[in-house]
Amino acid sequence: MNRAAFRRVWGIIYRHLALYRRSWPRVLELMYWPVLQMVVWGFVTSYLAGVQGNTASVAAGVLLGGVLLWEVALRSQMGFSLSFLEEIWSRNLGHVFVSPLRPRELVAALMGMSIIRVLVGVLPAMLLAWLLYSFGILTMGPVVVGFFAALLVMGWAVALGVTALILRYGAGAEALAWSILFGLTPFSAVFYPVAILPGWLQPVALALPSAHVFEGMRAALRDGTVETGHLLAAFALDALWLALMGYVFLRQFESARVRGALLNIGE
């Protein structure tokens, strides 16, 4: 990527940062759900730990770790998809697409916004988990960075699919930006092992990077071990899904240019 390409990517990121600078409700919204989730699940685990008479319960850590890490995937996907939707809502896409910005640069900018939104959304929840419930996700060690990265990339892959659907079906597909990843929660084995799922569902779960991340997280919290196999599987699946969804996105973008959908995508 040359300097001009970096500037174009920065142009889109700057546009969104300027929007957040002028709209505190948007900034608050970034933190609202992760913090709320942490508070609710934190009290649930405190209650369960009390019932078990074991305040340092591994189960409590597994639940809180699941909440925090799943928020990374959710915020990553929403950070990408909603930044794209902001362009539609502001009826600005026409200007963006007649500039020299390449589709891959738009994707890079949306990924950049996704990282920023994840950090702003998840860091306060992590801090809260530590302050209120003495749960430090970083106690898992450096492997947590791998878990973060794998879920971040999975969020991008899902977001590319959502954005492709928006290009195909217009803003009518916008509800998917809010809901699609919630639909993957049961298969992602966020709060329970993959082995709990019925046999026929397990291959579905293992085709998702998230299931491998959470299997790895449980091993790290339970035994203090790093399950490299799960981490590598997560990254391999990330690469596969990202390539596939990137292809679908680019195909839909070109199809939108043929159908004239870029002229009235807000409708």
Binding site: I12, R91, S99
Partner: protein, 249 residues
């Protein structure tokens, strides 16, 4: 020989295989430094033509070259050297005027962006508005901001879609005068689509009259007036739109 600003060869667009063509076998060559007008009623193919010239829409057939770049293979090189303004595409309303212009300065890799923004603000009387959110501006102010956005990269080709739509006569006249001066000073090529016949007559050296996606007539405003024996382009437009025979001079 200098390549034309726009070269369209047998350009066509069908939105569906069984739909009538929105643009049908459109061919023209617009020289550098010229100001041309696209005239036609609703559904004549003006917006579709402009969208194809901008690379927003892929033609069903034919070929477009903009500033020597084939739009099918090398559209981003052309897009960096051209720009576009339309009152129907908004700029982010919550961003200030300066922030909006800064975004596009980045997208077009404009050197010394702040200086360029200051220049445009001074020229288009936007200096006092730079910190105002774009959504809070009047229609006339928004038009001037949209013009500033379209000039931020010093385009060699400017595509304007109804540049004075919804403006009061005074503001519309100010914009037209400004465009005339800008063209003279920079040699920028301008293609504008408009329903305002007086505007086209004043700004354009050549006019393409479109009907059902085809060029049904073309020439300078004076040539068209002579050909149809009319006093103004509006009457010529009505003759063509209603399929009336031209009146011999």
């Amino acid at each position: 020989m200098e390549t034309p600003a726009i070269l369209a060869e047998a350009l066509s667009k069908r939105y569906a295989p069984d739909a009538p063509p929105a643009v049908d076998a459109l061919s023209f060559s617009m020289p550098r430094g010229a100001t041309w007008g696209l005239l036609g009623g609703n559904g004549a193919g003006k917006t579709t033509t402009i969208a194809m010239l901008l690379g927003l829409l892929v033609p069903s057939g034919g070929r477009i070259s903009v500033l020597g770049h084939d739009m099918a293979r090398d559209r981003f090189s052309a897009l960096a050297r051209m720009n576009f303004s339309s009152p129907y595409i908004a700029l982010p309303a919550r961003l200030s005027v300066a922030e909006n212009l800064r975004v596009y300065a980045h997208l077009y890799d404009v050197p010394e962006a702040e200086r360029r923004i200051g220049e445009l603000a001074a020229q288009l009387q936007l200096t006092g508005l730079l910190d105002r959110p774009a959504g809070e501006l009047s229609a006339g102010q928004k038009t001037r901001v949209a013009l500033a956005k379209s000039l931020v990269n010093r385009p060699e080709l400017l595509l304007l879609d109804e540049p004075t739509a919804s403006l009061d006569p005074d503001t519309g006249d100010w914009v037209r005068s400004w465009l005339e001066r800008y063209r003279t000073e920079t040699g920028c090529s301008i293609l504008l689509a408009s329903h305002n016949m007086a505007e086209v007559e004043r700004l354009c050296g050549h006019v393409l009259m479109l009907k059902q996606g085809r060029v049904v007539d073309s020439g300078s405003p004076a040539e068209l007036l002579g050909k149809y024996g009319r006093e103004d382009l509006e009457q010529v437009f009505l003759d063509i739109a209603r399929g009336r025979q031209r009146v011999p001079a």
